[in-house]
Amino acid sequence: MKSHIFCMVIFCALVIGTAAEADDAQAAAGVDSIRISQIDGSSLLINQRVRVYLSATDAGGNPVTDLGKESFTLTETAGRGPEKPREILSFSQGINANEGINLLLILDNSGSMYWDGSGRVKNSSDPMDWRVTYAKDAILSLLNEIKNPLDKVGLLTFNVKIQKVIRPSDDKGRIGTALEEAVKPSEEEAYTELYETVYNGVSYIRGFKGRRVIVVLSDGQNFPMKNNPAFTKRRGIEGAIEAAQREGISVFTIGLSTKADRTNLSKIARETGGAFFTVYDPQELKGLYSLIRNQILNEYLVTYAAAMDPAEKKLIRVRAGDGERLEAERLYFSATLFGIPVKELRYPLFLFAPAALVLLFLLSRVRFIYRKAAPTLSVLTVAGKKARARGRTIALGAGKTQVTIGGSDDDDLTISGDPKVRLTEVAVERKGGVYTLKAEKSPVTVNNRAVKTRVLKSGDVIRVGDTTVVFDEGRAGDAGK
């Protein structure tokens, strides 16, 4: 059966121009591809610096570790503008080795993982015919390789739902136990919830400091179950990618067998700064996990100062060696609070400022001055509520010597809507410019004092029932003063 096993082929994502000739670039000898795995623009505002994490690998996918600053050139492009070369300000290699890396391994435990590598033997009872056996072995040998106590490893196994969750820790024994407990799924579990598992995986590794990486192994494609109670809210491939991007997590994907979904597995890797690998022979898995780990451990960190050209996003392009064949590019977010300038700055727009200032001046000339010359009585509140300003004011005209306030239609100022106001309550008499209030029958207050008769002044508040009326002599009274 093993006669159909294919050679291992590795596709590295995000590489433009993959096949470097052996006689290429002296400075980057042995490098087959480079990849920008992460861009960190978080200190852009403070010191204008952008940090670029680079991975350089040889034809076998192994990291190339002896490259120097001079091996790389870096350019930045704002929108459709010219490609601007930027000086590399700092350069270091292997920084993840000191800080430790956090790995979350996601293992497909669907039914097909219990077939053999070619997919022809489906019901063998010999574990040596199962793909999953090799995957487990590969994970165990990776665990044996990890000696750095700062490195943390976690595990998720899944099919129709996430079966086992081992959060990243330095306790490798727990992962071994969990792997032993992963058994062949039943018929009802014959689904592959790949995207939802990756989405959820992000939340298990999110909280760790340092470089965080998810490695997904699957031998098929995302095969969701309808109305799956384990994933009531679906995030899909976009949701999974976006979650990883948001947290700066790289997702490496391994497609096992010819049935693996290359398109989408490589999409996940490419958009999160990881790499995608196709493996046809399960036995080759063993070296692959440590290869991925080595790639991460040996990443280069390149820092440069961003140019000031306005753009929502900018493209970083890194070239190694002579730059013809080895090239990697990735976008980063560079928008400013105010956005992109207008195409052409027209000077007439400066006229807006003086025009607005003239408006401000006019506004300051607006006087809210009370100008009614005639004496008035105006209702302030009716039955305790604010009265409508209009139609509730009467002028004490020159012809009249007396006006009345009350609930009757015959009154000069009729109060309707206040049950406590009876027919005629109050009279205001005018005698030679002096206004006198007379309230013989009912209890009336002026300025909250009970009165029978009283000479009124501007601003006096007359209360009848629950209604208040303001008296005003008018501006005529001010004229002489």
């Binding site: 958009e271 306005p310 980063y332 807006f352 300051s364 002026v446 208040t468």
Partner: protein, 296 residues
């Protein structure tokens, strides 16, 4: 002028503030590539926008109370505090935007459409807070500072979203930022005025004379009433009103009126008083000016 007109007035000066600041910001944006670094660029725009918006908005209290001295004091306070606000607000906004924006970046259209504008609006809100507190700092009033913080924050957030969505939906329109900035100013003004009214526990309604109908919210812990520009309830031009005639102090939820040694005296409900607790509907008379005290 009733209290609602006050709110509209604040909104109008806010619009003017935005329009005045616009050409200057547009000019700076145009020369972005000439700046040495992002932080210098941010500070320059922040200072320009804050300076102009702060100065114009600072005049609003003076214009409303028709006091030239208050307006002039407002320009200076607004200029200084607005500049600081622009600097802090824009730097904070850019920081929030870069860190959040990087997360949202590359992802689905929904995040580009909602996440990024929202994160930027937070920066505008910080800016709004500074514009809002200018009047409080000018008049050294803690309550006004609080009103400015709340009003400025809400106004900045809502107005900031307007700025951002103008950019999202009309990116090619050269007047997009003008409309956005005017909306920002309007929102800061309206929210400031609205918060001032909502948080004032009482007000004085003027019942007589040339300013009749004007309502003064008693926002502060300590309010002075008189003919001078320095008072908070300024009633210049009334006969028999001293420069500082009456002081009203908020004590344990009560408003206590004290006559400030006036020549003509202070009358509450026609009784001459030196000091008294004010009740709803009390009529206060100082010289020719008569007020009604209203609790809210």
């Amino acid at each position: 002028m009733p209290l609602s007109a006050r709110v509209i007035f604040f909104g109008l000066t806010g619009i003017i503030a935005g329009v005045v600041a616009w050409p200057f910001s547009e000019a700076l944006i145009h020369y972005q590539a000439s700046f040495p670094s992002l932080i210098v660029y941010n500070i320059a725009i922040g200072v320009a926008v804050g300076l102009f918006m702060g100065a114009v908005f600072g005049t609003s209290e003076g214009i409303i109370s028709m006091s030239g001295a208050k307006a002039r004091g407002g320009i200076v306070a607004g200029l200084i505090i607005g500049t600081a606000g622009g600097l802090a607000g824009f730097t904070a906004g850019q920081y929030v935007m870069l860190s959040l924006g990087t997360s949202f970046f590359n992802s689905t259209g929904a995040f580009q459409r909602y996440g990024v504008p929202l994160s930027r609006a937070v920066g505008w809100a910080v800016f709004g807070v500074f514009i809002g507190v200018a009047e409080g700092i000018r008049s050294l009033s803690g309550a006004k500072v609080r009103n400015g913080v709340i009003g400025g924050y809400c106004g900045g957030l809502v107005g900031g979203l307007a700025v951002e969505y103008m950019r999202v939906f009309a990116p090619r329109n050269i007047y997009a930022r003008l409309i956005g900035l005017a909306a920002l100013g309007f929102c800061i003004g309206v929210f400031y005025g609205f918060i001032e009214i909502r948080l004032a526990k009482a007000s004085l309604l003027l019942l007589s004379g040339k300013l009749k109908g004007r309502e003064f919210p008693l926002t502060q812990r300590f309010t002075r009433v008189g003919g001078s520009d320095k008072t908070d309830v300024g009633i210049a031009g009334y006969k028999g009103v001293d420069d500082v005639h009456v002081e009203i102090r908020k004590e344990k939820g009560e408003f206590v009126l004290t006559d400030a040694g006036s020549k003509t005296g202070t009358f509450v409900n026609d009784e001459k008083v030196k000091k008294t607790i004010l009740n709803e509907g009390d009529v206060i008379r100082t010289g020719d000016a008569s007020f009604q005290f209203r609790k809210r």
